[in-house]
Symmetry: C2
Subunit: 441 residues, 2 copies
Amino acid sequence: MARIQATLTPDELPKEWYNIVPDLNKLGGLPPPKDPEEGPSRLKLLPKILTKGCLELEVSNERWIPIPEDVRESYLRSGRPRPLFEAKGLERKLELKKVRLFYKAEFYSPTGSHKVNTAIPQCYYAKKEGYEAVVTETGAGQWGSALAYAAALQGDLDCIVYWVGAAYDLKPERLSLMHGFGAKVFRSPSQETETGKKLFKENNNHKGSLGIAISEAIEDVLNHEGERIYCLGSVLNHVLTHQTIIGLETKEQLKQLDVEPTIMTGCLGGGSNFGGLALPFVKEVLDGKAEIRFIAGQSAGSPNLDGEYKYDHADYAGFTPLLKMCTLGHKFEGVPIMAEGLRYHGAAPIMSLLRNNKLLESYVYPTDEELILEAANLFMRTEGFQIAPESAYGLRVGIDEALRAKREGREENIVVNLSGHGHYDTEFYGRVANCNSYTVV
Amino acid sequence: MARIQATLTPDELPKEWYNIVPDLNKLGGLPPPKDPEEGPSRLKLLPKILTKGCLELEVSNERWIPIPEDVRESYLRSGRPRPLFEAKGLERKLELKKVRLFYKAEFYSPTGSHKVNTAIPQCYYAKKEGYEAVVTETGAGQWGSALAYAAALQGDLDCIVYWVGAAYDLKPERLSLMHGFGAKVFRSPSQETETGKKLFKENNNHKGSLGIAISEAIEDVLNHEGERIYCLGSVLNHVLTHQTIIGLETKEQLKQLDVEPTIMTGCLGGGSNFGGLALPFVKEVLDGKAEIRFIAGQSAGSPNLDGEYKYDHADYAGFTPLLKMCTLGHKFEGVPIMAEGLRYHGAAPIMSLLRNNKLLESYVYPTDEELILEAANLFMRTEGFQIAPESAYGLRVGIDEALRAKREGREENIVVNLSGHGHYDTEFYGRVANCNSYTVV
């Protein structure tokens, strides 16, 4: 029987994360964060809002970072290592002969996304450093759920979530999930912060935005210094480093299957899931040991990889330092889509540097999301998993590349990161069900 | 680091199912199905409605049944083998010292329940025997989803589901799931059969029942003889035999962890998930090689293990032969509960024989389900998984046994089968979120 699934045993769970920062010196180095010319120092603010554990990793130049044993235990509890599948059903349906398609099953996460991979170490550091609560914002709800979950695993650690109003209103299932883990969840703009109160006063049905919610979370933490600490689910170096657990597992699994990847895809909102898969393989490319194309799926509503590569804030209100990134501007609000997790103005500095060095391509899909629905539908009918709308962007890239390679007679080994499940995405799957064609692009 | 998760590699996926029937001779043998004294022969109807593959297994006296390679491949595609976890978070929270608690993660199933384990071989036989479509009924929707999934994996096999009207109206997420897999789903009573048309004419908003839906599915198959074939998701011997994949994996995993189970629990509606876990261990007990208590969690709304042990039909309308089972009577409709999958009048003949020989205990929980909500909540806050309402009955038994053993100073190794996830159980988890206590019973 052909191998169609690769797993690792609990003992084979990676013992170190991979930090790409030292290897980026080959690309001139990662531009450091800096303060804006006006206003208070945001850099000096960082120790007040991030755990020591995360900050140390944020500025680390060590290539391999030991994963604390407690974090490894929590990774096992969260069901890691996760399987890598060969998409046999899809390959058969598309009559692929020389093209193979693989997917990493991050959708097996307890909360439905890869976000738990960084939530777990962040809550571990918060508890270890004596904080009472972790505080964050969430857009689609995936990150808030992940942090609520990780706080619950720690025990005796509270979790407070500011949730973008538009999404909060639409997702009672995710709200129950966060409440089930014991989290406190506020619709943003909220009545808990000055930022929130001001906006709420202007419009008591304000739909909110990720930038606003970030500002609220940071303000909350500054109001409770020493008791509460902020956690960020994407963009920063330490988050991407935590996420390399995905790629490190995948590397071992591809070895098991004796496969060398030639194309890797994933969706890219801030960059943590795609970075998580890709970075250990980018190392191979930078070391001249492999040739791999990295292609991100994005929405035309927030195509941040096509933005300008410049210093910009990571949040709407400008609480964060300036980061060098491909950005649409930190006041950019994007267009609402079902794959809400892709609506963000900037790409992570690490991913942006890769982009600027032409190591990272992107495909941008229209905001009506018809092409995305098609990919999710085809995947259900051949592979049987109901993936997140966001993940379907990465999948769409993978399928389109497979069909292109087939037309051109190329051999390819394509690996897609499927970052989450879509079990709570009722509207999306209501539409997927009625979608029976596949538009070849 | 303590082992808290046991996995098997794809190569270690069991190659044979375990059929307990020959070993039941030690208990006087399994009473065979028979015809009622009046009406047409139901036994003679069976070859028209069930695949040859399933019927052969239904009456097999072979102890070990080779799993066809295609079925093993589909098991791998469905994510099998599934992990076994030690519930470290729960053990810590309950301060268990000498009691260990393990759970089998059947909730990792693509459709959300263990039902895929039998849906896959049933669709395999249907395709192999040249049928165009599989037809079934579904109540809660788990079985219909599983069959739709398995038919999609086969490719070129249609799936037709008659879904009890009351549940159909309440579960748009599950309808999208079945549609996403390409299934045709009819609200029952439907316009597709004489049975349905008649009832629909009387009341075009008829709520339906499982019995009506079964009647419609069988009528549909009889109207399309040779083209369509019927599939059943529980109760029958072949279904339980397919499900032993759960227990066979668990056995290897417990060996890895060097643990001998002393108590095994699960919920019991018809008996397929609990049988699936327990039967390979019942063999050990019958062989005198182990001492294990088997305890099923049931609802006071349908406590079929407390019913009379006698011959009865498996369906409301009396289409099936008479089976010797613990039954509340085939006209019994039970009380609606959130764990809809537990509402069934009889226990599988195999489980009923074990019950009658005092090898199977049961705990019955009140229909307000408060105790069940508590168990699901405690599990989320300590282990982080959102399990199905049905599965929470088995979990409740496991936790209560753990606490009892702790009070009495006993050592126990408790294994719980968690048969499904609760991601679509919005009402249930809306209530779980508000449930912060645990009533010690």
